[in-house]
Symmetry: C2
Subunit: 312 residues, 2 copies
């Protein structure tokens, strides 16, 4: 039963029309994600720019992170420099705070660390100006969600990332949804550099939006960051060195020979199939879901990623 | 730096007034949670009813779950029966799906399980009517949040649980926030019994609201459910028996001698201090937070739990 049970809630069940409880819900069945993806067109998928694709190698597997240079260009450029110069190789995951973030960087870069042992930055910058929002640009693609948001006047997706917009104040920004990657900093807003990065592993901490530089999103391997024992020190830091998870390397796909780059494709967030997936999730009605929400929130939408088909 | 960094985002920093970007934000500093809790009154804390307190013993620690009989009375009663008759003792966590749920129950209760080996239910019922919503009751306490919600007409807290309300349709229900516990079922709405339970470990899957019976909330030990390796089978099921996490026992606190019951207190969600915590989180402004959200969503609010002071 268990596998049916809740499992059915996200399985691709045969959709049946059922009696509606809320009168404003459509009675027809909704297509499943599997059905919608099967009908997607090749041009609806994109290969991430290898200049924007980080490959993080952990003991149990690889994490792929897509960078968002249109939103945080200075931070992304600095992270590329750090990565090219192998800054992260040999560093570690140092913090896993439940329902908040997993964070990695230099273990010595910590209140209890020995600052004399800090890994040198190389040619990367030690401080950057804040890039917490960017000027609103009507030319950036935007797939707006119809159901509103508690925090931002408008929310939707741009170039594969969840975005909040405030046209009245001329700003837009990446939001702290599950799997989004940001840059740690001190209290001074100009102290972030990209040497310490975090990823959201719980309920979206949207209060961080517009207070930190968000640089990208995990495309694959999120389970290697989220499924770790929580740190038992203050704020979820691992209080014993042996609890840390070593990072063999973080590489840029563009630095690898083409045949060694990850072969993945991401569904375009300005595609018809993505819009159809959003609609199907808003009004999901099938054998299991008797009371479709009729709504969807920004951080509950998954962006499909698939293995690229072999080139002919 | 790391410990400051993002760590400061939730640390109890000295609050400083800073220039407001959004004109509607108050310029004064906000009190920290630590400051607010230090001023709380003893009568603002409650000891969970031992009839509603489950103690789940896992290899790495204990999980405390508070049941919500005012919302799902039949399911809660059945779970109490299962627990009193030691149904869960020796069963296991069978599924950890990233950004969704951790689920436990009888490993044989699975598409691949041997149904002849199913643990007998004892005097518990095998099926229950759906309790996905309950009739709206103005007498239940309700601390309403001021910033709206994507899914429900009204949201807030009642008796320590996050709640959605739809007065127009005369319904209220527990919402699927992080740490909420629900009852798995088959597609048929009358197939849930409480033998298979799940807890939310990611972004709140609010589309499940009003489709499943939510029976309670994890008060303590959430990290033992969320910080597990993700299952690699379909839907996050552990595909090898050795991956499962054994449950030594689930007990009801009321079945234990008083001196062996967990000594914890929960901040009342109808207390002045809880309201002050919500306000401080909505408009957090300190040395780190330069752009307070001015808003808060239901599932981003933590309900404080503390060790009870020793009785004199």
């Amino acid at each position: 039963m268990l596998r049916h049970c809740l499992a059915a809630a996200i399985a691709f069940a045969i959709a049946l029309p059922v009696a509606a409880i809320a009168a404003d819900q459509p009675a027809a069945h909704t297509p499943t994600p599997k059905e919608l993806l099967a009908k997607s067109q090749p041009q609806e998928w994109r290969t991430p720019d290898p200049q924007n694709l980080l490959i993080m190698t952990l003991p149990k597997g690889q994490v792929l992170i897509e960078l968002a240079p249109d939103f945080t260009p200075l931070h992304v450029a600095n992270i590329r420099t750090l990565v090219r110069e192998h800054y992260f190789d040999g560093l570690a995951i140092v913090r896993v705070q439940d329902n908040f973030v997993t964070q990695w960087g230099d273990p010595e870069d910590d209140d209890n660390g020995d600052k004399s042992k800090l890994k040198p930055l190389g040619s990367a910058k030690a401080k950057l100006p804040p890039e917490y929002t960017r000027p609103f640009d009507a030319k950036l693609p935007f797939t707006r969600l119809p159901d509103g948001d508690v925090y931002a006047p408008e929310v939707g997706f741009s170039q594969g990332f969840p975005v909040g917009r405030d046209k009245a104040h001329g700003q837009e920004w990446l939001t702290h949804c599950y799997g989004m990657v940001g840059v740690g900093r001190d209290a001074d807003p100009e102290t972030g550099s990209g040497t310490g990065l975090y990823v959201v592993i719980g309920q979206a901490p949207r209060g961080l939006d517009r207070n930190l530089a968000v640089v990208g999103r995990v495309l694959q391997g999120m389970e290697y960051l989220s499924g770790l024992p929580r740190g038992t020190g203050p704020l979820g830091f691992y209080d014993k060195p042996e609890q840390r998870v070593g990072i063999s390397a973080i590489q840029l796909a563009s630095e690898l020979p083409p045949e060694q780059r990850p072969k993945i494709e991401v569904l375009r967030t300005d595609s018809a199939t993505f819009t159809a997936l959003i609609e199907a999730k808003r009004n999901r009605r099938d054998d299991f879901y008797r009371n479709p929400a009729g709504k969807i929130d920004l951080c509950s939408i998954n962006i499909p990623v698939r293995e690229a088909k072999a080139q002919p």
